[in-house]
């Protein structure tokens, strides 16, 4: 019996010690970061958001104090909302941050109940933003903006209700009054493009860089750049919506922005922001971006980012009934 009691005591002490390790006294600001930081990607591995994160993370961690590690965590599902909600509800201690797709998750939140509120998050930076463009398949015979406006019974291809291409397509269709239909349900933008090449549909509205490699292969033709206020340097011969008189189209951008949960202390988000923007301008990332045809940046201050996002909210709110 005595032996048992002593054993019991020792076990209890060990358990208490162990518990203490799991919930250590909160570290001082100067000790941050002292363990790995998690970057949540709300989509599956190998996708657009994922690869940029995986390229930037190893460089970004070199710019963190004590070169703390950054671990990529894929939490996909519910169109990205699962991952976004995870980050939103995580402990605001600076050890979790994640991507969001603007306008994707934002537009969904305009007309449906969601567990996140982007007006409350702490923005860290803009990883990648670029305008959305309308591409037509070469098979469709549509070569210019005027061709598109003249063609009856147009079909857009999109990756499933609520996906980026779907939101962009309905947005463009409403503003340009194309009276187009949307062939939806494809598993991702690559499958949509394959569908276009096959002849399932004529048009797709995606980010410039997602479609660009198919231009050089001759399968797609850029017809109109939606977002932005002037022509894009990557597609100098393609008209931009605003010059054709459709200024509402200017909101047609994609922002891959990263944020931390509401309440994360400013000193910590600053450390992350600075590391991110330094990484984005690091020559290794610039080279990678060029080699792989992936848009990185532009680097934006939190103020600039917030303003840009607010503009997009305004732009899409006008048409929010489209996205119910």
């Amino acid at each position: 019996m005595k032996k048992f009691k002593v054993l019991n005591l020792i076990v209890c002490l060990l358990v208490l010690l162990g518990l203490n390790e799991m919930n250590p006294i909160p570290a001082q600001a100067e000790d941050y970061p002292n363990k790995p930081i998690v970057w949540v990607v709300p989509y599956g591995p190998g996708g657009g958001f994922d690869v940029i994160a995986r390229a930037i993370a190893p460089v970004m961690q070199e710019y963190l104090p004590r070169k703390a590690n950054i671990i990529i965590k894929n939490i996909d599902g519910a169109g990205g909302r699962r991952g976004v909600t995870w980050v939103y509800k995580a402990k605001p201690d600076g050890y979790t941050f994640g991507y969001t797709n603007i306008p994707g998750q934002l537009v969904y939140g305009l007309v449906n109940k969601v567990d996140y509120d982007f007006s409350k998050v702490e923005w860290i930076g803009n990883v990648s933003s670029e305008p959305v463009a309308i591409y037509a398949s070469t098979a469709s015979g549509i070569k210019t903006f005027e061709d598109m406006m003249k063609t009856p019974k147009l079909k857009f291809g999109s990756g499933g209700k609520g996906s980026g291409e779907d939101i962009n397509a309905r947005f463009a269709d409403a503003i340009l009054d194309l009276k187009a239909s949307v062939v939806t349900g494809y598993a991702g933008s690559h499958e949509v493009i394959l569908g276009l090449i096959r002849g399932d549909a004529h048009l797709i509205a995606i980010t410039i860089s997602s479609g660009y490699q198919y231009v050089s292969s001759g399968d797609l033709k850029p017809i109109l750049v939606m977002g932005g206020k002037k022509r894009d340097p990557v597609l100098p011969d393609t008209p931009v919506g605003i010059e054709k008189g459709y200024k509402d189209l200017a909101a047609g951008m994609l922002y891959r922005a990263v944020f931390a949960p509401p309440g994360t202390p400013g000193e910590r988000t600053n450390i992350l922001s600075t590391a991110l923007s330094k990484a984005m301008q690091d020559p290794r990332i610039t080279k990678w971006s060029k080699d792989s045809d992936r848009q990185v940046g532009p680097v934006m201050t939190n103020k600039e980012l917030k303003e840009a996002i607010d503009e997009i909210i305004v732009g899409y709110s006008k048409y929010k009934e489209l996205f119910r």
Binding site: P45, G46, V51, K161, Y186, I197, Q213, Y214, S217
Partner: protein, 498 residues
């Protein structure tokens, strides 16, 4: 072309190249054998590690994993009746009964041989059709997909010939399960019970692990068996694997058919690759003179299943390399790896990076060879698992299964789903409900619906699109034939008897 091949060979046959492809292969073997963890999960783990490595060598690591995984999965399928990955499910049906008869070594030998040769077959086809690959892939539009999948669903009927009604029920449940969640096409959410967890539907891996692995553990626990093998296991020099090697050649037409089916399913992006091994298995039953021997330990069943599931990888490389569109989940990760290393996948790949394409082809072939050779070497050791007391086996299966399920997306509910389906699977087995239709229905149900809707959207709502294109019509005729031919044949036979 020739210098691309030579350049690829130089990379592969370097010390670093051989090391990495072998490392990847071993990793794939181990992970493939652990239920639920194989395939995509193993590949993802490498993504951060390879950043900064020479892209050629990194690619060898990836195809190494891809080459080892299918055979790894067959090991647990044969020895434990637990498919290591979903593509090994059909291997259980005859592989495990063989293990119970003390012929595990033979079954493993069949698997090793069929896997390796099946992969070679598909890679040869891949190289052969590259010039016309574009045309082939572009020929498959939504109506074609729908008809292919309809044919796949018809195999549900084929597999449950003894048990028609139960087979239909099983298949029906599978289809309903596949429809749970968000519908990509209509935007509606079905049966989600208001939860975000079910919003995306029920994942394949928890269902699969539950129905096959957990239910098997339950069955073993309830049975009176001491060890998996019921007869004494003869440990010959190679453990019987050489016998297995010869069986593949004995059933060479089954092997060729299986490899062909696997390759074709792999080439068509969007049709679940999981179906390949089932389709090959059920086709073998259909065409056999003794269909009733399947499921009792007929080696031909293992040949059919294992040749198809490796062949699918070679096939999946086709759309990946020609269009930059992933032919399977592993390929999607591979494409991500390309981008990570600054390579742009897409139509330009064949023109600008032919040597990389050859590295993939040769690497995959080599990895399959390594996996199968290791299999032969380890057969004696592996076979002993069938002589271990089940009181060690059962908890191992349960722990590995639940860990594998959790590892997939760190979601606790997935474990609950696996547990529930463990009970469902056990109940189904006890009452004679075939499991295959459940899995086929689940894999194909939602895709069938999606293709159907897409076909109508493409055709502005007209149904004629199904009947005015040649391939869908041919497939439809094939489906009807395969459904009714057995009835006609048996009627004819019974008339003949009279």
């Amino acid at each position: 072309m020739l210098d691309a091949i030579l350049s690829a060979l130089t990379v592969l046959l370097s010390a670093k190249g051989l090391l990495f492809v072998s490392l990847g292969c071993i990793w794939g073997l181990i992970l493939g054998a652990l239920p639920g963890v194989g395939g995509p999960t193993g590949l993802i783990l490498f993504l951060p590690i390879t950043f900064g490595m020479d892209p050629n060598v990194a690619m060898l690591l990836y195809v190494g994993v891809m080459g080892g995984s299918p055979f790894g999965g067959s090991i647990s399928a044969i020895l434990l009746n637990v498919p290591g990955t979903p593509i090994n499910a059909a291997t259980c049906f005859d592989g495990y009964p063989m293990a119970r008869r003390g012929e595990a070594g033979k079954a493993l030998g069949i698997s090793a041989t069929a896997s390796c040769l099946g992969a070679f077959f598909s890679l040869i086809i891949l190289v052969g059709i590259l010039p016309i690959a574009r045309t082939i892939i572009l020929a498959f539009t939504p109506p074609e997909f729908f008809m292919v999948i309809l044919f796949g669903l018809a195999t549900v009927v084929m597999t449950s010939r003894g048990n028609m009604i139960k087979g239909f029920i099983s298949g029906g449940i599978g289809i309903i399960l596949s429809l749970v969640g968000f519908c990509n096409v209509t935007g509606g959410v079905r049966y989600s019970l208001g939860t975000e967890y079910l919003w995306d539907g029920i994942e394949l891996v928890p269902i699969f692990i539950g129905v096959f692995a957990v239910s098997e553990a339950l069955r073993l626990a309830v049975s009176k068996r001491e060890t998996i093998s019921e007869e004494s296991v003869v440990i010959t020099k190679l453990g019987g694997a050489w016998e297995g090697f010869k069986e593949v050649f004995r059933y060479k037409w089954t092997f060729i058919r299986g490899s062909a089916i696997g390759t074709i399913i792999g080439i068509i992006p969007g049709v679940g690759g999981v179906v390949a091994n089932f389709l090959s298995y059920t086709t073998a039953i259909q065409l056999s003179k003794h269909p009733e021997t399947f499921g009792q330990g007929n080696p031909e069943g293992v040949v059919a299943s294992e040749s198809a599931n490796n062949a699918k990888d070679g096939g999946a490389l086709v759309p990946t390399v020609v269009f930059g569109i992933p032919g399977s989940l592993e390929m999607a990760i591979l494409l991500g790896a390309f981008i990570l290393h600054g390579l742009v996948p897409g139509p330009a790949m064949l023109k600008d990076h032919l040597d990389l394409v050859w590295i993939l082809i040769l690497g995959l072939a080599f990895s399959n060879l390594v996996a199968s050779s290791l299999g032969f070497l380890l057969v004696r050791f592996l076979v002993r698992i069938t002589t271990v007391s089940v009181s060690y086996i059962i908890p191992t299966i349960v722990v590995l299964s639940f860990t594998g399920v959790f590892a997939m997306r760190l979601e606790l509910w997935d474990i609950l789903v696996a547990a529930i389906f463990g009970l469902v699977g056990y109940g189904m087995r006890r009452h004679g409900f075939p499991l295959v239709p459940l899995v086929i229905g689940y894999v194909l149900g939602a895709i069938a619906e999606k293709s159907f809707h897409q076909s109508l959207m493409v055709a502005y709502g007209s149904y004629s699109i199904f009947f005015t294109r040649p391939i869908p019509v041919i497939l439809l005729v094939l489906t009807v034939l395969s459904l009714f031919l057995p009835f006609f044949l048996s009627k004819h036979q019974s008339k003949g008897d009279k």
